[in-house]
Amino acid sequence: MPYKVLRYSIENLKKCFIEQATAHEEVVSSKQHLACFENYFSHIGVKTIIVEKDYVNREFLEDYSSYYVRSFKDYKRHCVRLHFFKIEISEEDFSLILEGTPKGICAKNLQENYQGFMVLKPLPITIIGKTCISTYEEDNKRHFPTIRKYHANLYGINLSVESLAYQEQDSIVAACASSSIWSAFHRTAILFQHSLPSPVEITKWATRHFPFANRHFPNKGLSAEQMAIAIREIGLEPLLSGVNTYDTLKATVYAYIRGKIPIVFGFDLWDVNNNSSTTPARNFGAHAITITGFNETNIISNKFETVDNLTLRSSRIDKFYTHDDQMGPFSKIEFNDFEVWNHNKGSIKCLDMTWKDINGNKGNIKAGPQIIIIPLYHKIRIPFTSVLTSINFFNNLFIPLIGRIPNFQLFEWDIFLSDISDFKSDILNDSKLESKRKKEILLTKLPKFIWRAIGRIKNENCLEFVFDATDIDQGSFFILTVNYNTNVYLQYNLLLKKYDSKNMEDFSAKSMIESLQ
């Protein structure tokens, strides 16, 4: 039989892994991924696995033809694909669906309860191939802006899932760096219309200009510089940003991820077992993962870095959801203010990971942020920092008024990249906008990519400034103002009426002020 129907349990999933892998059972059972999937699948309510045998996976076939096919050992080229459903399906139910005489459960039930698929590669240990699993339920807190639709056809039954592709590194044709770029490309391919390279192609591109480096295959990792080259090779521009602090990391990731762009996050790994000022934390390497979503809380800080009174929505973030090739899809990394102490680097503010340490204990592995790499369409030229500084110039004007006048407070700024379609859909669906102004904005010609800076008070949008993300970083790149709240608009109009902005050094901030006068 080319398929198998299994009741979901972690033991059955483990059996699927063991059957596919050629390594010893104990090695496969000790994979951290299993613990991650056990937790995740119980959360999303998986009840049934349908195993599709002899599945041809394009990504693995390319890796296979580039590397494994030349091995003396006879590696198989066909994979196994596991399909997950959140309803109970029996072998008989599925057989009747395929015969076209369903009783009870039909193909539509399968489509409605589909939770995604996982390809298992015919390798010794690193068997988890392309995996597209539905996300945690999105609510006001959890956000997954980077997901897209994936289609699967199971013996003629059309299935689809909203996800972002994940796979673990095989440590041969791809290390964590290649895997993280591969996941990010799965979204940017749709956003910016480019081809989808396999992990082996990414590794080849990244290492092409480093002829004197150590051997490229088996691949043991890529530097940030090499990752940037791979991104450029696909036709995108890599934006590299330092993220040693919580505020910059949260704000920058939020700004681009709301624009649906997955972000490659590079960090140091620290083992903090018995860490103190006399026992330094142990650094055991650098790791790269893909940030795919975030969780926000109600706690807000009215400070960004050294800038007092600049309140950003991004400071509400308490965790990121990431594709960590060593752990699983949508695994969490959390901001818990944990400081690692090390002789060379002093105190480092780290993020909490869900990894287990060598003793099998959780809570001892921390991530020390280093760098983020954002794959951008070349026409997105204005960086987040430019928009942030213009907003800060504008925001600073009103600081002397805090406490001096009644019923006035500074905005909480929601700053993010967007495309014209999402912006215009939001405008069309907004119930608070004045109808004439709504039509005027909808008919305004705008660039494909824009920066949106929304001033919010108590979670309500009040005033928005729109900037041209494709402009050059000189002069003003401000485009228009959207007024969601008449009283707030009138307040700003009144406060700025007599303000002379001729000496304002930031041209975009100057244009913002003039739009309100």
Binding site: Q169, A177, H287, F304
Partner: protein
């Protein structure tokens, strides 16, 4: 939004509050306070850009982790 002369904002600022606000903004104290904040914003802009800069040494570090 028409550029009208605002004398009050219903439920937010009374006409006397509007007058006081406008007077303060155009007073010497108000002008100086706003200028000081703009100078501060200029310094902060440099800091914001500086923090996001990538340390060149990080670019060469390989991300290699595999358990």
């Amino acid at each position: 939004m028409p550029n009208q002369d605002i004398t009050e904002i219903s439920g937010v600022w009374t006409s006397s509050e509007v007058t006081a606000i406008q007077n303060w903004i155009s007073s010497q104290e108000g002008i100086e306070a706003l200028d000081t904040c703009q100078q501060l914003a200029k310094v902060q802009s440099k800091e914001i850009v500086e923090i996001a800069k990538v340390d060149a040494s990080i670019l060469k570090v390989p991300f290699i982790f595999n358990m």
